[in-house]
């Protein structure tokens, strides 16, 4: 019988990381995600799986530890919240440029600046459009439940190694802090040095007899070669876009209106959809699970079926830009959001839907 546990989303991430066989976690305390580091320190995985857990001197150091660890082919991760993730952007750009597999978690809080400790989704642009310098993309997963917080650790690393690309789990203070039941994955062994050498021939492991030096650098002074590297990256991003789009559709078959939301807000919207249907308004929900690659095809298809789309986010209107870019028709698209750490309730969503689309 599977073991059902009750825990916070942040705690679930820590447990899932150990059970996935992660080699190293490097982090710095920041609310509302400090339980990830705290839980790992409490569980002492270095005594069991051999996982390294280190509290770094800064988010900058932590992401560069991830860069170093990932360069050696190890499964490494870091987590932070919005202001800390801003600090990590330089390192994330290097990790993307070096095509290193790694998992980064942003448990978003309200900004800008030091902002607030309460939940937000205002880092959508940063997560999906770059954040750091240069043309690169992260694979961005948006968990809506504590179960997904746990599951996306494994999914994130699987995708990161499949594509040699960093994966960002874009969570928020709601899913990080709330307690829910969760089924943790089975314990897996960490990969052996031999497996790493086989699976990651690029890894900087110390040059064994018979192979030349492996060098992990993101510098290329010859612009023609640098352009080739960029073209290679773009080709990879095209392939990821074609293969890795994930989303969830609820009640869209007969929907006259579509609500779009990601992460914890999608669950609030799910309740709003239920309430709307009780009132006879046919509303469906489209929840992107990957924010990059964005479910462009699903938006285009559904835009042909509905009278209007309401994009609900804990920000001033960020994902709505991707929705508008991918419409296949001139269907009206509106945004409803709360900011600064305020989370809307289902009634507000339903009220906004009625108001924006003039539904009696």
């Amino acid at each position: 019988m599977e073991e059902v546990r009750l825990m916070k989303g942040n705690e679930a991430i820590a447990h899932a990381a150990i059970r996935y066989g992660v080699d190293g976690y490097f982090g710095y305390p920041i609310t509302p995600q400090s339980e990830i580091l705290e839980t790992l320190e409490e569980l002492m995985p270095w005594e069991t799986t051999g996982m390294v857990v280190l509290q770094a001197e800064s988010e900058v150091a932590a992401i560069n530890m991830v860069y170093g660890g990932a360069s050696t082919g190890k499964a490494v991760m870091t987590s932070s919240s919005s202001p800390g993730v801003s600090l990590k952007q330089e390192g994330i750009s290097y990790i993307a440029a070096g095509e290193l597999p790694a998992l980064i978690i942003n448990c978003m809080r309200g900004g800008p600046g030091l902002g607030t400790l309460q939940p937000s989704q205002a880092d959508y642009f940063q997560a999906t459009k770059g954040g750091g310098h240069g043309d690169y993309h992260l694979i961005v997963l948006a968990p809506a439940t504590v179960q997904e917080m746990a599951d996306f650790v494994g999914l994130g690393f699987d995708l990161a190694y499949k594509w040699r690309n960093p994966v960002l789990m874009l969570a928020d203070g709601v899913v990080g802090q709330m307690m829910e039941k969760v089924v943790l994955p089975e314990q897996r062994p960490r990969r052996t040095e031999r497996e790493i050498a086989e699976q990651c021939p690029w890894a900087v492991t110390g040059r064994p007899e018979g192979r030349g030096p492996n060098v992990l650098t993101t510098l290329e002074l010859d612009p023609l070669k640098m352009e080739q590297h960029n073209l290679h990256l773009q080709k990879k991003y095209d392939a990821i876009s074609a293969e890795e789009v994930r989303y969830e559709e609820i009640d869209t078959e007969d929907a006259e209106y579509l609500v779009m939301a990601f992460g914890s807000v999608a669950r609030i919207c799910q309740k709003a959809v239920e309430e709307a249907r009780e009132q006879g308004i046919k509303v469906g929900l489209l929840r992107p699970i990957t924010l990059w690659p964005f479910p462009a095809e699903a938006v285009a298809r559904l835009s042909n079926k509905v009278k209007g789309i309401l994009v609900v986010e804990l920000n001033a209107g960020q994902m709505i830009e991707d929705v508008r870019l991918n419409l296949d028709t001139r269907v009206p698209v509106h945004h409803f959001g709360r900011m600064g750490g305020i989370v809307m309730d289902p009634d507000e969503v339903l009220g906004a839907l009625k108001e924006k689309f003039n539904i009696q």
Binding site: D23, G24, F26, V52, L54, A56, E57, S58, V60, A61, A62, N64, M65, V66, Y67, G68, G69, S71, T72, K74, V76, E90, G91, Y94, V204, T205, G206, R207, P208, E209, G212, P213, N214, V215, L216, T217, T218, L219
Partner: protein
């Protein structure tokens, strides 16, 4: 006697280490980097560590160190080499992990990473090239630039009231419990080169023994940045740099005093 008759293994008295490859170095004439690269390659070779060595290169003149020494390398972001090396060593404890950093990288933008890696006593060796200037970007003021020294960003000389004091970071690192060996060397004479090599060897051995962080500062010349000929740069270094940065061991907890 023909050259072929002379070129026999038994006649070799000095040669380039095999790990130092044929690539033409980008360093300027008179620069200390080339000598230090050779010493690092020699020490790795003599320790038989070429299959376990992982170097972490900085941003600065040594950014392309990986082009010259045939071991595995990671090129870190500016100042972050000690953080990168921390993870490499912790995740791969059997490897010889060293950083190779300049003064801007180690003592300005990377001060936090340097101090905290050293304070944690990470089992890494830090090779620290101190030439008192930013070489790669064209001779701007470094944290280690001496008072009065003319650079691209202190065209009238470094002024304490405007630019602060030169930063003598090695004694600061020596104060930390995590460092086992902090030494300052130079490579401007044959005798100095021999001593510097010995220091690098000890630093590398310390990290393999798990004794803590070792720092080998090499007071170096930058003829291009200093706008001096290589010979005059050496003289200037002896006359001015050694006063602010005297060579010798600053800390060594690894040897028993007799």
């Amino acid at each position: 006697m023909t050259p072929e008759q002379i070129k026999k293994p038994e006649n070799v008295v000095a040669q380039r280490p095999a790990l130092l490859n044929d690539n033409t170095m980008h360093y300027c004439p008179g620069c200390s980097h080339g000598v230090v690269h050779k010493l690092v390659a020699e020490v790795i070779e003599e320790m038989g560590a070429e299959h376990i060595a992982i170097g972490v290169a900085p941003v600065g003149c040594a950014v392309m160190a990986y082009n010259y020494i045939d071991v595995d390398w990671i090129e870190a972001a500016h100042g972050r080499a000690p953080a990168v090396a921390t993870a490499v060593k912790r995740l791969n404890p059997s490897r010889l992990v060293f950083t190779y950093q300049g003064d801007g990288d180690l003592a300005a933008i990377g001060t936090a990473e340097t101090i905290h890696a050293a304070n944690r006593g990470e089992n890494i060796a830090i090779i620290f090239i101190n030439n008192g200037i930013y070489g790669m970007t064209g001779g701007q003021m470094a944290p280690t630039t001496l008072e009065g020294m003319v650079t691209a960003t202190t065209p009238y000389g470094r002024r304490v009231d405007l630019n602060g004091h030169h930063l003598n970071i090695s004694p600061l690192l020596a104060q930390l419990e995590g460092t086992c060996y902090v030494t300052r060397q130079s490579v401007h004479t044959a005798a100095a080169v021999r001593k510097a090599k010995k220091a690098i060897r000890q630093a590398f051995e310390n990290s393999m023994k798990g004794l803590g962080t070792s720092v080998v500062e090499i007071v170096s010349t930058c003829s291009s940045g200093w706008k001096l000929t290589p010979a005059k740069a050496n003289d200037w270094m002896v006359e001015h740099m050694f006063e602010a940065y005297p060579v010798g061991d600053i800390k060594n907890t690894t040897t028993q005093k007799s």
